[in-house]
């Protein structure tokens, strides 16, 4: 408490030293004798700020449609709002007249005369602004563009997204390659190993492209009858995108010794620790994920390379409306 008091005292002293004594209001003869600021340049600058904001908002829209690169989108949207903010701050300080008005209290009943005076006064409030048209125009352009930029992403929503969610580049016969596009051969992994794989020739950033391939002891596998034969020589592949929030499932707990570790081989998502039992079709054994990872049926071709034996068993990707729960 004592410390707080001292700090407040210091603050008061600092203010006094820096600003001097507050000027008594009486020294101001009549606050209504306003001095209008040199506003033409200020108005131009404010208009430039508004137009820059508009230009950046247009750049955002164009980028969103043509080249949706997240850092660029963020930079244009952010700079647009920043220049809008500066234009508004600048206008509020430099363009709008800064005066102290003193309203004298009088009778509540105003006569006709007084009404007219007040109306004049209100009208006179804008008399310092000479390029009203320019500012209003710039403001309208800016508002329109920023509003449009805010609305454009709405075009990405809608019912037509459904088909895209279910699609994945995996087809029967597609070769599995690693991130350097080398085919994955059946002698690549030891039991207990993992590798991330992609369909040959596909876009690796596609949500449905990446799968994680693990190799387990074939004797440990407990597939459902429908999935028998999907995991030759203990090779099992699942979508690498967690069905909870879409993180990359990058941890593979592979017990070295089954005799001492109670739980078996499992894929673990590092974001929220959803844990998927790889021996039982990626059944969720822990964590918030609502459904198993989609499985990719595998086969080994004559040259010993891993190939897809079909598409993914389910929609890849995170949970969303109607897609979060377990499926048959």
């Amino acid at each position: 408490m004592n410390l707080l008091g001292r700090l407040l005292a210091l603050w008061a002293i600092w203010r006094r030293v820096l600003r001097g004594d507050p000027q008594p209001l009486a020294e101001d003869p009549d606050p209504r004798e306003r001095e209008l600021p040199e506003s033409e340049r200020a108005e131009l600058l404010a208009a430039i700020g508004l137009l820059a904001s508009a230009g950046l908002a247009i750049a955002f829209i164009v980028l969103y449609v043509v080249y949706p690169n997240t850092p660029l989108l963020g930079a244009t949207a952010g700079l647009s709002l920043v220049s809008l903010a500066f234009a508004l701050m600048f206008a509020s300080v430099r363009v709008v007249p800064q005066v102290t008005e003193v309203e004298e209290r009088s009778l509540l009943d105003h006569g006709e005369q007084e009404h007219r005076e007040i109306a004049d006064e209100v009208r006179a409030g804008g008399e310092g602004i000479s390029r009203r048209g320019l500012l209003v125009g710039a403001g309208a352009v800016c508002g329109g563009c920023v509003g449009a930029a805010a609305l454009v992403p709405v075009a990405s929503l809608g019912p037509r997204i459904g088909g895209r969610l279910a699609s994945s580049p995996w087809r029967a016969g597609r070769l599995l390659v690693d991130e350097d596009d080398r085919p994955i051969t059946a002698d690549r992994l030891a039991v207990g190993g993992l590798v991330t794989a992609f369909p040959q020739g596909a876009d690796k950033s596609d949500l449905g492209a990446s799968v994680v391939v693990v190799r387990v002891d074939p004797g440990d596998l407990r597939p459902s009858p429908r999935r028998r034969g999907w995991s030759p020589r203990g090779y099992v592949a699942y979508s690498k995108i967690c069905t909870h929030a879409g993180c990359a499932v990058s941890e593979f707990r592979s017990p070295e010794s089954p005799t001492t570790t109670a739980s078996g081989p499992a894929l673990v998502c590092p974001c929220h620790y959803s844990t998927f039992d790889v021996t039982r079709g990626a059944k969720v054994v822990f964590g918030p994920a609502g459904r198993p990872l989609p499985q990719l049926p595998l086969r080994i071709d004559a040259r010993g390379r891993l190939r897809a034996a079909g598409g993914l068993s389910d929609k890849p990707g995170p949970a969303w409306w109607g897609e979060g729960g377990p499926r048959a």
């Binding site: 005066v99 592979s254 590092p270």
Partner: protein
């Protein structure tokens, strides 16, 4: 005068000989273990029976639900678990973690010789100095960082395991052994997946993170962008408050 000169010359020669001798000894014996007497597997067996057989069995074939069969795991695995102090475990359900070994280096070598005598992979040779730290970081990010974090901070693997921190005491040979064994719940990396030169790169990178320079002055735990972002938000909010204070100042004219 002449005598003093001769004395000095002799002394200098002596120092030179000593230096050359040290260099020669170092070159001739790159590994300190070569200096030890050859390992004695019989003594190793005695130690094994005393310290390990309650879980791994008297014949090292393992006991169901207590400890795995050690025949065929090779000197590689025995060396890793004994030298890093992960074995012996107090309780078979515990996770083996790095500790000071209860056995002397000579006893460890004897036990490694005993287990290695059943066959299996030998202790790998690794040359971290030949590794490329940039390649190593790429490999570490791709293969190890999922659990160990990108600077080896370590992490959690559900339901009950930890990926150990690699920031302290980790030798290059530990890395070379661990990738082949996959200790506890770690995945196994075959030599087709990580070649020997890639293991050199990895070992070089892990050596690099043992003493990581914090050029920014504050590593914030080295656990990545989330704490860094939190700090930035903290600073950023301070700046915003300051800006708001200045903007909101009443101008008296």
């Amino acid at each position: 005068m002449r005598r003093r000169l001769a004395t000095r010359a002799l002394a200098a020669l002596g120092v030179l000989c000593l230096a050359l001798g040290t260099v020669a000894m170092t070159v001739a014996r790159p590994d300190a273990s070569h200096a030890q007497p050859p390992a004695d597997p019989r003594h190793g067996r005695d130690l094994f029976v005393g310290g390990c057989s309650s879980c791994h069995g008297l014949d090292a074939r393992g006991i169901p639900h207590r400890g795995p069969n050690l025949r065929g795991v090779g000197a590689l695995s025995a060396d890793f678990y004994l030298r890093t102090g992960r074995m012996p475990l107090a309780h078979p359900d515990d996770e083996p973690i790095r500790a000071h070994s209860v056995y002397s280096a000579a006893d460890q070598a004897d036990m490694v010789a005993y287990i290695g005598g059943f066959g299996g992979p030998a202790i790998p040779s690794v040359n971290a100095a030949a590794g490329n730290v940039a390649e190593g970081k790429q490999l570490f990010t791709d293969n190890c960082a999922g659990c160990h974090q990108v600077v080896g901070q370590g992490g959690i693997v559900t339901p009950n395991a930890i990926a150990p921190s690699l920031e302290n005491e980790v030798q290059p040979v530990d890395v070379a052994e661990a990738v082949r064994i996959g200790p506890y719940v770690m995945p196994v990396f075959s030599d087709r997946q990580l070649t020997r030169s890639q293991v050199d790169d990895l070992a070089r990178y892990v050596q690099h993170i043992q003493d990581l320079p914090n050029d920014g002055g504050w590593g914030i735990g080295n656990i990545g962008p989330i704490p860094e972002g939190l700090v930035l938000w903290g600073l950023g909010i301070g700046v915003l408050v300051l800006v708001a204070r200045i903007v909101g100042e009443r101008t008296t004219s």
